[in-house]
Symmetry: C2
């Protein structure tokens, strides 16, 4: 039984200058908070989300017992990030589709939905917007900023953009940038969406359609990269969907893995915004703090003053342990305080969202240290 | 300078019973031969092709100096499979789109193109059709049957379906069946094709269109799985396509890898048949000789009497060395004569088509042994 979470929104009238050179006019951020901000305002933890998640990080909504937040195993009373001790904030990023201003909203300059004209947002832009939100909440310094995958990139970027405002960076199943294969998968997914005739150049809202075909393909590709080869073989293997006899069909579902992927694709296409998919995968592609430092990650991370916990998972081939180790090395080159755990887990990239006792224990003990430091 | 190859066709009037229970009525196979069949008819080598290749294995076509066959590095006068010694046969599989009967041809029962009604063909069916072709060419026993990837599956299946007709099986970068991840990638590619509105349920020929969007996505996905992470990073990395400045666009090409993939997708969609793509990926999915033996590969391979060479490539994550080793082990369990080479090559699955001196040397020396045995 989880606690009740209540989504909130904050509106920002001041425009936000973006890395692209464009400006985001007035905008809204959706967020949730759990626990209580202490008198010193020193126990705040910001959680950054990955591709398809939101500000609904933990707890359930009133009357919806199955609406657990996406990191409910990690965050809550008595959990590794203990909301009896910490004041936890989840925020939906700009350009997403769960309550913060995004492509489905109306562009005040045109009076119609932003669609594909929504400004390209970067990890750095999101961090700027999150920093403003924290300002409004009266939080000058975070005890920790934490995220997995793309969320981990935001956590890392926080320590570089606002070093004085972060005591700990917790970067899980992440990478200092995408490699060519990561970009390649993103690009195929984007092409599937953009070439869907129902995309209408990104202005499909006006046509009353959704590029579901493209979204389905994008999600199916995503799911393959979230799972390890091992866990796929264990969960699905070559199991047939029906009985023991082959149907000999190229279009009907024959194997369980096909059924699973189609189902995931269908579900996703019902709720996720196609323009948001493009924006978020592009933010992933662009993130590369070393770029402004001649590709030298150690030089880029010199700006960070926080202490760090990094976690990776052995079977994660999307953001492999090697990529986390690059961050660890670059931080150590700068003589930063770094803890690193490489968890032997079979679940691939998805492992960061799952209930693995060793993983949860590592995070728990790190947050106990944070709590003791603050005490 | 390569030799001149000349495509030929043979027509078969007798229907072919397929594993699905369906029957392929009269059909044509396109093939090429290189070298000379010796008086004993003992020097024939059959080459089986993978997904998008054909009977044009080696040499060039008259007046087309750049039309080298897909395995021209491997096969020809003085090459590892030396056409001065061996009589080499390449054959285009049933259901393909390069000259053998396929979905673009007219179904005699309806008078219109087969399209999606083309019978589902399996690796075993292809081998049966190849065996008939060899019968017509007067070849009772092959010195060797050889193939890479899906071609390797055919080579393996030859040794099980017609053990007495094969002296050597050469199985390169292959697997005893697809794993869940392999099937998953095939399924996404098929969904991209089938959900393209220009697919028209597989009868797009009559509409004068081609489901190019789907074919492009399928090919882009394929290419990612053919290359290793390492070689992608080396060839493309995070290189921008134009200059040093980011464009901040979700739809324009920003990175070189995007440009490469889109180009590969565009090229493929110009020449490859969408229904063939479905058929060939399904043949891959279905191949599983252990299935009829309770999943026991060693029991399945007990039927083989040939000697074997298996080759795998360290960075091939589509058909990893582990999968080749499963075949090696199952053959050794049956006390078969097996040579196995694991080539340390950076190129991923594509390596089997590339000019790697160690790889070519392994195949060369194996075929020298075959030649000596025959002498």
């Amino acid at each position: 039984m989880s606690f009740i979470a209540t989504p909130q929104t904050l509106h920002f009238d001041a425009p936000l200058a973006l890395r692209s050179g464009a400006t985001m006019p007035a905008y809204t951020l959706a967020y949730e908070t759990y626990g209580t901000l202490n008198a010193e305002r020193s126990n705040a933890v910001l959680i950054c989300h990955a591709l398809n998640a939101s500000h609904h990080v933990a707890g359930v909504y009133e009357g919806q017992p199955k609406s657990e937040g996406w990191w409910d195993t990690m965050i809550g009373p008595g959990k590794p990030v203990d909301t009896n001790r910490f004041f936890v904030i989840g925020v939906n990023n700009l350009g997403s589709c769960f309550g913060s201003t995004g492509p489905r909203d109306v562009n005040p300059a045109t009076g119609r939905e932003w669609g594909a004209d929504f400004p390209v947002v970067t990890v750095e832009d999101w961090v700027d917007a999150q920093a403003r939100l924290l300002g409004q909440l009266g939080i000058q310094q975070l005890a920790a900023v934490m995220g997995g995958s793309l969320g981990g990139m935001q956590a890392l970027s926080w320590t570089l953009q606002y070093p004085e405002r972060v005591r700990h960076g917790v970067v899980i199943a992440s990478a200092p940038n995408l490699n060519a294969e990561n970009i390649a998968f993103n690009e195929v997914a984007r092409r599937a969406i953009v070439t869907d005739p129902d995309f209408h150049g990104g202005h499909f809202y006006a046509h009353g359609v959704v590029p579901k075909r493209g979204l389905r393909i994008a999600r199916m590709i995503g799911h393959i990269t979230y799972l390890s080869d091992d866990v796929m073989n264990e969960k699905f293997g070559r199991q047939l969907r029906e009985g023991l006899d082959l149907k000999y069909s190229t279009q009907d579902i024959e194997f369980q893995i096909e059924s699973y992927l189609r189902h995931q694709g269908d579900k996703f296409s019902e709720y996720f915004d196609a323009n948001t998919y493009l924006l978020i995968t592009r933010a992933l592609d662009y993130f590369d703090p070393a770029r402004a430092h001649g590709g030298q990650l150690a030089r880029a991370l010199a700006a960070a003053t926080a202490k760090f916990l990094l976690v990776s998972f052995t079977t994660d081939w999307r953001f492999s342990p090697k990529r986390s180790r690059e961050i660890v090395k670059a931080l150590l080159d700068n003589r930063r305080d770094v803890s690193y755990a490489e968890i032997d887990a079979p679940h691939g990239h998805d492992a960061f969202l799952l209930e693995d006792p060793r993983y949860l224990a590592v995070v728990r003990s790190y947050f106990e240290r944070i709590a003791q430091e603050a005490a």
